[in-house]
Amino acid sequence: MVPTHYYVILSAVLFGLGVIAFIFKRNIITIFMSIELMLNAVNLAFVAFSQVWHRLDGQVFVLFVIVVAAAEAAVGLGIIILTARNRRSLNIERVDLLKL
């Protein structure tokens, strides 16, 4: 049987890769995808601990995270479409109104 900390370490690695993608990607859509990757990494840890303690609360939380991610994807992609229309570009460098 698989030890639980394997799962948690895999979750940490995936989260770190999501952070790296978030920092280094230049395309707005890909940056948004790296956020989804981080959410997935956290879901993995939730399910792993839920199975350790034999309590299903963690899995219910995962369902809520998925729902919130779906809502976030809908609104976020709407914002991306709007930004792409206004800036005529998907490059994050072009969206710098809040940059110092």
Partner: protein, 168 residues
């Protein structure tokens, strides 16, 4: 090594390779396909842990709905190759070391955690979906109903943001 451990390592390798491919691919549609690989492999890991309902929801909602939305937007905006520009100096120098340090800290915290977590193995016993439903519709019924409201607001927001321009 027993069979579950081997399956775990295969799926974990798929996850990590998919995530690295998401970073290295320059075309957004290739990144999206890499992310789908990660999500399907994660669904396999959920099945390995015995969380079958979560695995099904992962494939249907994440691999199906959300990623179709992403691919649809990529096609709609006709997204081309990512332009390489200079990343900011702070991100360039400190980004990868800090992200690796974050991963290392998390992994170290797990490695030094309570023996209860260390010793616990995933038995792979399936979590009863009926118990999950009872929990979701009894203890968590108000949050569950609130999510329907959240989705309604999200639909309205998406229509207002991306819908037809109102003439002002």
């Amino acid at each position: 090594m027993s069979a579950p451990v081997i399956i775990f390592f295969v799926l974990a390798a798929m996850c990590v390779i998919g995530a690295i491919s998401l970073i290295l691919q320059r075309h957004p549609i290739h990144s999206a396909l890499s992310l789908i690989v990660v999500m399907v492999a994660l669904a396999g890991l959920y099945l390995l842990m015995g969380a079958e309902f979560v695995a099904a929801v992962q494939i249907i909602v994440y691999g199906g709905a959300i990623m179709v939305l992403f691919v649809f937007v990529i096609m709609l905006l006709n997204a081309g190759l990512e332009q390489r520009t200079n990343v900011s100096k702070l991100a360039g120098f400190a980004g990868i070391p800090l992200a690796v340090a974050l991963t290392g800290l998390l992994a170290a915290a797990v490695a030094r955690s309570e023996d209860a977590v260390q010793a616990a193995t995933q038995t792979g016993a399936t979590a009863p979906t009926k118990a999950l439903a009872n929990l979701l519709f009894q203890d968590f019924v108000y949050p569950f109903e609130l999510t329907s409201f959240l989705i309604l607001v999200a639909i309205l927001g998406a229509i207002v943001l991306a819908g037809p321009r109102s003439e002002t």
